[in-house]
């Protein structure tokens, strides 16, 4: 089915155009909005973005495929990105990944059967002082992780509780789990 921008994205799209000297420049912010709405950059979504941007779908794919945050394939509802770069590695990120694989019974890059979780390795998340770190769906950071905390986060996510914590709460809280 053809994808159409919902009203809020359409509004943001029109506003973004006014902020840059060239329309092409709004592509990254726009793709973020669409990905958040659809869950990933589906073919239908890319076609619509291309039409709105007056570019070809191939061009949109060309740009989107450069960036690790843009997903061109469907993934789990919660994408668990565990940082594997130096500081997190030094603080035990490998154990976390093993634990996640065991709890969810999937390999890295795979999605669990219920469609809820995908495990990924990501590079430095700029949170090295509170390593090891995992991000859920590219935005929710969980820091100072332990194997026990991971178990708790997974059970909360299964009940759809830990995601989408409000901005104020995140700003004031020292930790989610």
């Amino acid at each position: 089915m053809a994808y159409q921008f919902p009203e809020d994205i359409e509004k943001k799209f029109q506003w973004l155009i006014t902020r840059y000297p060239k329309k092409d420049a709004i592509l990254l912010p726009l793709l973020h909005l669409v990905q958040k709405d659809v869950g990933y950059l589906s073919s239908e979504a890319i076609v619509e973005v291309a039409r709105k941007m007056e570019l070809t779908p191939a061009r949109i794919r060309e740009v989107a495929s450069f960036y690790t945050m843009f997903r061109l394939n469907k993934k789990g509802q919660y994408v668990l990105g565990v940082c594997q770069t130096l500081s997190c590695y030094l603080n035990g990120s490998e154990e976390l990944i093993t634990k996640l694989k065991n709890i969810l019974n999937i390999k890295e890059g795979q999605t669990s059967e219920d469609g809820l979780f995908t495990i990924e390795r990501v590079e430095c998340l700029a949170s090295c002082g509170t390593a090891p770190v995992m991000q859920v769906n590219d935005w929710e950071y969980h820091e100072n992780l332990t194997v026990e905390k991971i178990e708790k986060i997974i059970s909360l996510l299964k009940e759809h509780k830990a995601a989408d914590i409000s901005y104020e709460k995140r700003l004031s809280s020292g930790g989610v789990a």
Partner: protein, 454 residues
């Protein structure tokens, strides 16, 4: 989720982080009431642009993103009397492994950065600015957008700011997860809506940058220093640091890895690395001792424990054969294998190479592949020599410095810890033609590469 707020350590000098502990540190009211917020901006927009640039030049403020280039000198490269618009871009694509200072500044003290941008914009005659923030830092993006809205409401951004007749518009631009976009020309490509591939210099961005127009790209911490310099003067800023114009001011150092108390600490430029690790960070973890550290992010050559007695400034670290980089110190203790560290460092750059230049695209991956082979105890002395040769053959031969960022730390580890590598070499009697063990921790591309080519 934000870092837990921490009280300043007694040895810290908080200038950039002043007000970090306040509960409402991100609000414009708090910033204006307690920290002379936007006083410098008002001053700067009513000054002659060249006077602002001269003041910053005099203060010795250097780029705190990694290169350490004097900010005022960079601003001076903008062509005089040009007709094209000038863009001011804040590089907030914090991605150097070990670095987390910019995130603290953006999440907790967004107005200091915004004010710094207004001051800097008036110096370079820019009417349009962007803050290019890493896409992953959603909280920083939200906080900045809210802060920018507040500044617009107060009339500090937009048309005719402070009644000076000058205009300045500011927009947050989210990145999307590419380390290379922290390189200024890569960042400009990405800002233009393209793949974040670096461009050849010259032309330098100050002559032809974003949208074909003169562009200044500065790091978050660099820009956030500007309001204080305008309010308190160049001498005050030089006095904060090591006492000379080459060691002026402070920087926020991020410490992570094998230390008792990791975290971020604002210290005068030139502060002793040893003092930071022992007196502020509490030394090594229980029962351990320090072995080495990366003093300026994962792309800086490592220092052995015996070399820790060095000042954290650009010149001292360069003299010690390494670099100040982004002020990120990753500490390793005696339980760590340096072969493992070299492999992981190379792995990061192999993953982040944009693929434009062949020496980097192939060199980083070969370095990683060969080091993995050694790490898996399947390698020989020849493999190590090949890795060194791959490093030496990519350094300085590419458009940007990502290949150098891979080669420098790897070479330094191989040089300083060669004895550790020897323990990993395959013994002659065990040698047989086997497929290298492909560990699960490699990305798909690298697995394919190893299967296909080794």
């Amino acid at each position: 989720m934000a870092q837990v707020k921490t009280k300043a350590h007694p040895l810290e000098t908080r200038v950039l982080l002043e007000g970090f502990d306040d509960k409402d540190s991100a609000s414009i009211e708090n910033y204006q009431k307690n920290y002379d917020g936007y006083v410098a901006a008002k001053k700067a927009v009513n000054m002659e642009p060249d006077d602002v640039t001269s003041l910053v030049k005099e203060s010795g403020l250097r780029g705190l993103g990694g290169a350490g280039f004097p900010a005022g000198v960079k601003w001076g490269f903008i062509p005089k009397g040009g007709t094209k618009p000038v863009y001011l871009v804040c590089n907030a694509d914090e991605g150097e492994p070990g670095t987390f200072k910019d995130r603290q500044l953006m999440e907790h003290l967004p107005h200091r950065l915004i004010e710094g941008m207004i001051c800097s914009a008036s110096a370079v005659r820019s009417e349009c600015g962007y803050i290019y923030v890493r896409g992953e830092l959603v909280l920083a993006i939200e906080v900045l957008e809210k802060a920018i809205e507040e500044a617009y409401e107060k009339g500090f951004l937009g048309k005719n700011i402070f009644g000076s007749g000058r205009n300045f518009d500011l927009t947050v631009h989210p990145g999307a997860g590419a380390y290379i976009c922290g390189e200024e020309t890569g960042l400009i490509s990405s800002l233009e809506g393209d793949r974040g591939e670096p461009k050849l210099k010259p032309p330098f961005p100050a002559i032809e940058g974003a949208f074909g127009c003169p562009t200044i790209v500065n790091n978050v911490a660099t820009l956030a220093h500007v309001p204080n310099i305008i309010n308190k003067g160049a001498e005050w800023f030089i006095g904060l640091g090591g006492g000379t114009a080459r060691t002026a001011g402070t920087n926020v150092f991020s410490v992570s890895g094998d230390v008792k108390n990791p975290g971020f600490f604002e210290l005068p430029i030139g502060f002793s690395l040893k003092k930071l690790l022992y007196d502020i960070c509490g030394g090594p973890k229980e029962g351990r001792s320090f072995k080495a550290c990366y003093p300026g992010g994962s792309s800086s050559p490592v220092l052995k424990e015996s070399e820790f007695e060095v000042g954290l400034d650009f010149d001292s670290l360069a003299a010690a054969g390494t670099m100040a980089g982004s002020g990120a110190i990753i500490v390793l203790d005696d339980s760590r294998s340096m072969v493992d560290m070299a492999m992981r460092t190379a792995g990061f750059y192999a993953h982040e190479s944009c693929g434009q230049c062949v020496p980097c695209r192939e060199g980083t991956k070969w370095t990683y592949t060969l080091l993995s082979k050694i790490h898996n105890k399947q390698g020989t002395k020849q493999d190590l020599e090949n890795a060194v040769s791959a490093c030496n053959n990519m350094q300085g031969k590419t458009i940007c410095v990502l290949s150098d960022a891979c080669a420098m730390p790897v070479n330094s580890i191989i040089q300083k810890f060669s004895h550790e590598f020897e323990e990993y070499f395959i013994k002659e009697e065990d040698r047989k033609i086997t497929k290298p063990r492909v560990s699960g921790e490699m990305s798909g591309v690298l697995k394919e590469l190893m299967r296909g080519k080794v």
